[in-house]
């Protein structure tokens, strides 16, 4: 084959490759959803892909995303605890303490709003910069250090390839925007509905014990009202699968504090009030998912309730510190000892043990260590 022919063939090959990368749309991402789960909505600016999720998984578990190399997302979001950390409130890389309890990341793809009480924060992509770059408190402590982080990741053995695979159309894919997008895609992929309750819903009559079924009936009763705020396939009224723009945010006050007789919550944790300045919003927080609730203690926005039994005490009392802001869906109730045990049993049946160990969401750096 002559040189000219070789060159021509080379040019054609390059042209075809460029065409494939730039003009042929990537295969749409295939969700693996439980049968009774809807498909989550995904922002157009960050479509899902397996390569993006894999990059996000690495970044999620990488302690280099902190100012001193001590902390990764996984530090406060541990898979074995349904991506919480078992603490009342969390500690950042430099020892500063957050005011709030770490939230579970299972099924966050369906969240209408992110974090405990932010009415503005719709997408996962909006939340991720807060722990990365926030200063009050310092969580991962990267404010002002984004250039340094980019340089470090771009010089790594593995990351450039992961970024190129995740963002094939970009000449310089290692960027803050892409770090955020990849982590968001990974979080969005953590979808699971394989608890005993789910198996029961799918037709396995033996999946729940008699006690658990009685607890389920109590949970969904008008007498207890749990389902009003913790209902639906994801046990929260803060879930959606529809168009984000039309879904309003929902926040509730369950009567945890009443410091001044007019519903005041502790200064560092007033919930929705911090955004609206309206006293009626004092102490209003999201009602998060109850899935995996047995492994995500302690409870409430500040971790101030340690056990499920104490949670039930709080709701049975109509709130441990009722105020005029307390939700109408927290009226209080009376339970027999058997009923209480049934309710707890039902809540424990919401644990999805497979999600806690699913290798798709596990630490890729631990895998490498084991192989060695």
């Amino acid at each position: 084959m002559g040189n000219v022919t070789r060159i021509a063939l080379g040019c054609v090959a390059i042209a075809v490759a460029a065409f494939v990368v730039y003009a042929v749309p990537p295969k749409p991402y295939q969700w693996t959803l439980p049968p009774h789960f809807p498909e989550p909505s995904v922002p157009e600016s960050n479509p899902m892909s397996t390569a993006k999720i894999e990059l996000g998984r690495h970044l999620f578990y990488d302690t280099r995303l902190s100012v001193n190399g001590s902390t990764s997302c996984a530090t406060c979001h541990r898979q074995e605890l349904a991506f919480t950390d078992g603490l009342a409130v969390s500690e950042g890389a430099t020892g500063e303490v957050t005011p709030r309890n770490s939230m579970s990341l299972v099924n966050v793809a369906y969240n209408t709003r992110q974090t405990w009480a932010n009415p503005l924060m719709v997408h996962l992509e909006d939340q991720i910069p807060v722990p990365l770059f926030g200063e009050v408190p310092v969580e991962m402590g990267l404010a002002g250090l984004e250039e340094h982080l980019i340089t470090e990741l771009a010089g790594d053995d593995t990351y450039p390839g992961l970024f190129r695979a995740a963002f094939p159309r970009e000449p310089s894919p290692v960027s803050v925007a892409n770090i955020v997008n990849a982590i968001a895609a990974f979080e969005r992929s953590i979808i699971s509905g394989r608890s005993a309750y789910d198996r029961y819903l799918e037709g396995d009559a033996e999946a729940l014990t008699a006690s658990e079924r009685r607890g389920m009936d109590l949970f969904f009763s008008e007498r207890l009202e749990c389902f009003h705020c913790h209902g639906g396939f994801n046990f929260t009224d803060s879930s959606t699968h529809g168009s984000d723009a039309l879904v309003s945010a929902v926040f509730h006050n369950t009567g945890l504090y009443n410091l001044d007789g007019r519903g005041r919550f502790p200064d560092n944790n007033r919930g929705l009030y911090e955004f609206t300045g309206d006293r009626r919003d004092d102490g209003l927080f999201k009602a998060p998912t109850l899935r995996n609730i047995a492994v995500t203690a302690p409870y409430m926005h500040d971790g101030s309730i340690a056990t499920l039994d104490e949670v039930i005490d709080h709701y049975a009392a109509g709130g441990r510190a009722r105020s005029r802001n307390t939700s109408e869906f927290v009226p209080g109730f009376v339970l027999t000892e058997v009923e209480r045990a049934d309710l707890v049993a039902f809540l424990e049946s919401l644990t999805d043990h497979e999600a806690l160990t699913d290798p798709r969401w596990a630490d890729p750096f631990a895998e490498t260590a084991e192989v060695k």
Binding site: L120, V130, F133, G144, A245
Partner: protein, 264 residues
């Protein structure tokens, strides 16, 4: 033939006259930090007082020409500190009491304005609403800096300033609060917290803009070991004087935060 030459000469004359009266003058407006009038930096200041932070955005900078009219400063775009709409001023050098800041400094706003000499300055502290709620990870410099974004409040920190006196400290993050809508579609903010500063008789060739941190924090008790941290919350009583001092909350400031100082 003569009439053609006359017409051409006349036209040329008009053109020349027009060119002279529309001259654009390069302008540099320099900012400096002071404490009760005394120069203040991360490494030096009166007694035990030091700067711990001083970074802020300004926009819509105007200069008053000799005829009294205000001329918008056409910003030199494309530097790391300026785009055509906003400028980031950074008076801390990351050293001394400013540890954790950035080493780079930017003291001046630069651009061109129509007119030869100027006798007044007007500018707004902050980021205009139209830019304030855009995505910082995709924004044009100087709006791309994570340290200047208030990620949980969906907007920028217009000003981050702080002062240390011995062991005690206070700092301020100023930005719009109580915003409504969603990140990506913010509708309005109940507390925009932008303030327009007017400095009469300001001559950019001879004067600098002094920002007085004693006046900024007048009425705010500096604290130790934890600093007094102020985040533009109108209901945060110990910090409320700062918002009054800046002119973003109702009330009379005891002394102006921004003033004109002749360059010595």
């Amino acid at each position: 033939m003569r009439s053609v030459i006359q017409t051409l000469t006349g036209a040329l004359g008009v053109l020349l006259l027009t060119a002279c009266s529309e001259s654009k003058t390069p302008v540099s407006i320099v900012f400096s930090a002071v404490h009760d009038g005394a120069a203040l930096s991360c490494d030096d200041g009166p007694d035990a007082v030091r700067l711990i932070d001083m970074r802020f955005y300004v926009h819509d900078i105007e200069l008053q020409a000799a005829d009294g009219s205000w001329r918008l400063l056409d910003l030199d775009a494309g530097t790391p500190w300026q785009n055509e709409d906003v400028v980031l001023i950074d008076l801390e050098n990351g050293a001394g009491a400013c540890r954790g800041g950035s080493a780079q400094i930017n003291r001046a706003v630069t651009g061109v304005a129509e007119g030869g000499s100027f006798k007044g300055l007007r500018f707004t502290l902050g980021v205009p609403f139209e830019l304030n709620h855009s995505d910082p990870v995709r924004a044009q410099s100087p709006l791309h800096l994570t340290v200047m974004h208030w990620h949980w409040q969906a907007g920028y920190k217009f000003l981050r300033a702080g002062v240390r006196d011995g062991d005690t400290c206070a700092w301020l993050h100023l930005g719009s609060t109580q915003c409504q809508g969603m990140i990506g579609a913010i509708e309005a903010c109940r507390n925009p917290n932008r303030t327009t500063v007017t400095l009469e008789a300001f001559d950019p060739t001879a004067d600098v803009v002094a920002i007085d941190l004693a006046h900024l924090f007048a009425g705010v008790a500096l604290t130790a070991p934890q600093p007094r941290g102020c985040m533009s919350d109108p209901n945060d009583t110990p910090c409320a004087p700062v918002l009054v001092n800046l002119g973003v909350a109702a009330g009379a400031p005891s002394a102006p935060v921004f003033s004109r100082v002749r360059n010595g």
